[in-house]
């Protein structure tokens, strides 16, 4: 499958996505269709509660749409082993990092590797290499509480890269950061995208992040408005 506007193949496609939460009968998405091409950097923007995070979660197989379908490289997620899909092809970065407080930076990076069946020594080496890539090799044995907020987000990014994903999904990755750290994290994401030829889909409120993207998808009240 190829994006009609370019010759780049479509990596992920959402078709008529509707998501209704039973608690409170909230319709977070009301029929969204979108395509993400391989190597593309897409920013999802819009006001709070418009369905940005819901859309990201659906596209990443973290949740199922009430109706509609998502396809990865043309194959419906309904027919894929979604756990395996997430473990092998996706990297997630969250606003509140979600580092495991009892594990060191290096151990946190190794957590997704259990599903990729890397041998133990290989897990250690890989974690060190990725931490080096994000400039945190010297903090590898520190617990999250000993790291600055920016360092924690860089560990979370390193963890998202653990299994060599082709798609990085990030939910407000700079939302908890000051402007300097936000800039550093953005630069880091831009660099790893280029070096690893990653496709990125980022939910953001930040105009700076949206400006850095190849394409901005704007949502309002559960619908794409731009």
């Amino acid at each position: 499958m190829t994006d009609p506007g370019t010759s780049t193949p479509t990596l992920l496609r959402g078709e008529s996505l509707v998501k209704t939460y039973p608690d409170g009968d909230v319709r977070a998405l009301r029929g969204v269709t979108l395509e993400i091409s391989e190597g593309e950097f897409v920013a999802i923007t819009g006001p709070s509660g418009c369905g940005k995070s819901t859309l990201l979660h659906l596209m990443g197989g973290l949740d199922r749409p009430t109706s509609g379908e998502i396809a990865f490289r043309g194959e419906s997620l309904n027919r894929l082993d979604v756990d395996r899909f997430r473990a092998q092809h996706l990297g997630f970065v969250f606003q509140s990092f979600y580092l495991i407080p009892t594990l060191t930076a290096s151990q946190n990076v190794q957590v997704p590797m259990f599903e990729a069946s890397w041998p133990r020594t290989e897990r250690n080496h890989r974690a060190m290499r990725i931490l080096e890539e994000v400039g945190l090799a010297h903090r590898a044995n520190h617990l999250p509480k000993r790291l600055s907020v920016g360092e924690r987000q860089r560990v979370a990014i390193a963890r998202a890269l653990a299994n060599e994903p082709i798609l990085l999904l990030a939910d407000e990755p700079t939302g908890n950061l000051d402007s300097t750290t936000q800039r550093e994290v953005l630069d880091l994401l831009a660099r790893i995208r280029t070096e690893r030829r990653l496709t990125m889909m980022i939910v953001t409120h930040s105009g700076e992040v949206a400006a850095a993207a190849d394409r901005e998808i704007r949502l309002k009240d559960g619908l794409i408005v731009q």
Partner: protein
């Protein structure tokens, strides 16, 4: 990082909760190890009374629940000797005496015939065994001599009457080592039971079935029960009681332990709902979440077994500080009691860990992440 490191880190990250859970499990497991150890030691000790002497049959009054309350004519011995296949018969009068100055109650006092089969197989540590013609003479078991701080030639007042210690013996049975032996006639006189015994022991020919001889005894003499020694031990009322107590303790400990572990694991799951959601988001399969949480529960269970084993060892030393306990309780905890403790630890891990683990694995990633 290996999977075990992950499990260990999770447990060490919440040290107070881990410690309290392990301690709670340890208390339950130690109670089980101790009671089983005591119960099995009790049975072993009783069995040794008969097995060490090759005794095949015990004859008591029919319908009595334990030998102390049995009452038979000593003269019955002549009839017993005439039963086919009986090789040897010995009478026994059993009673309990107290030595309050040494804080000892219910010390087993055996009235046996000097030179008879019951005395013959005892190992003398000091002095000599009772011989025909001995009067006011007593043999003390090793544990009782230790508790009373008596040695050969010392004087001992038993039930208000003076006796001279002529020997100290060791028996395979702790009951005997914790008791005393005086000539049968002396004990009959002291207890006002002249011409009476509590029972007889019989050795049969090796090739015959004790059940058959027992039936022959019961057919010949009315009002008696002639029970093969193995059955007698198995059906002894005290042994049945101690087994029932051990069984009840295991049940209660299992219930409390599994509720405790269930509570801990359920709390761990609730506290870490976000973390579990993250693991699912990172692609962890449900099965791996179950393995992680069951691994944590199993580690708690194994630590509980280790703490329980240590506590039971210390507990047994504590019990042995009481002189009365020294005469009845075998301080050696059998390895099988520890195996039961281990099985209980594993059982508790499965019981307490499985439900929270399955519940956690069923969480959808977004649902769990929203929890934080």
């Amino acid at each position: 990082m290996g999977f075990l490191v992950f499990i260990t880190r999770n447990l060490l990250g919440r040290p107070a909760r881990t410690m309290l859970t392990v301690l709670g499990l340890g208390v339950g497991i130690s109670a089980v190890i101790l009671l089983i150890g005591v119960s099995w030691g009790f049975e072993r000790s009783m069995s040794a009374i008969y097995s060490s002497r090759g005794i095949d049959i015990i004859v008591v009054r029919a319908g009595v629940s334990d030998q102390l309350s049995s009452n038979l004519d000593a003269g019955m011995i002549d009839q017993l000797r005439t039963v086919p296949d009986v090789v040897e018969v010995a009478p026994s009068l059993m009673d309990a005496v107290s030595f309050e100055e040494a804080n000892l109650t219910s010390v087993l006092a055996n009235g046996w015939e000097p030179g008879g089969l019951l005395i013959r197989n005892l190992r003398m540590i000091e002095g000599r065994p009772l011989e025909k013609g001995d009067t006011r003479a007593v043999m003390l078991g090793r544990v009782l001599a230790l508790n009373l701080k008596k040695s050969v030639s010392d004087e001992l007042v038993i039930a208000g009457e003076k006796f001279k210690v002529i020997g100290i013996f060791e028996s395979d049975s702790l009951f005997e080592s914790g008791g005393l032996i005086i000539p049968l006639a002396e004990l009959q006189h002291m207890m006002g039971r002249e011409g009476k015994v509590t029972g007889f022991v019989i050795i049969t020919k090796p090739e015959v079935d004790p059940h058959t001889v027992g039936k022959a005894v019961e057919a010949k003499i009315s009002g008696v029960a002639a029970i093969p020694s193995q059955n007698y031990v198995q059906n002894n009322v005290q042994i049945k009681l101690s087994r029932a107590m051990a069984g009840a303790t295991i049940g209660v400990a299992l219930m409390l332990g599994s509720i405790g572990l269930l509570n801990t694991m359920a709390m761990a799951v609730t506290e870490r709902t976000g973390e579990i959601g993250l693991l699912r988001a990172l692609g962890w399969k449900r099965k791996r979440i179950i393995v992680l949480l069951m691994g944590e529960a199993a580690t708690l269970g194994i630590l509980g077994v280790m703490v329980g084993a240590l506590m039971s060892w210390i507990g047994m030393r504590g019990i042995m500080l009481s002189p009365t306990s020294r005469g009845f309780i075998d301080p050696k905890l059998p390895p099988s009691a520890f195996l039961v403790g281990l099985a209980m630890g594993i059982g508790l891990s499965v019981l307490g860990g499985l439900y929270p683990a399955i519940r956690a694995s069923r969480l959808e990633p977004t649902e769990a992440l929203r929890h934080d």
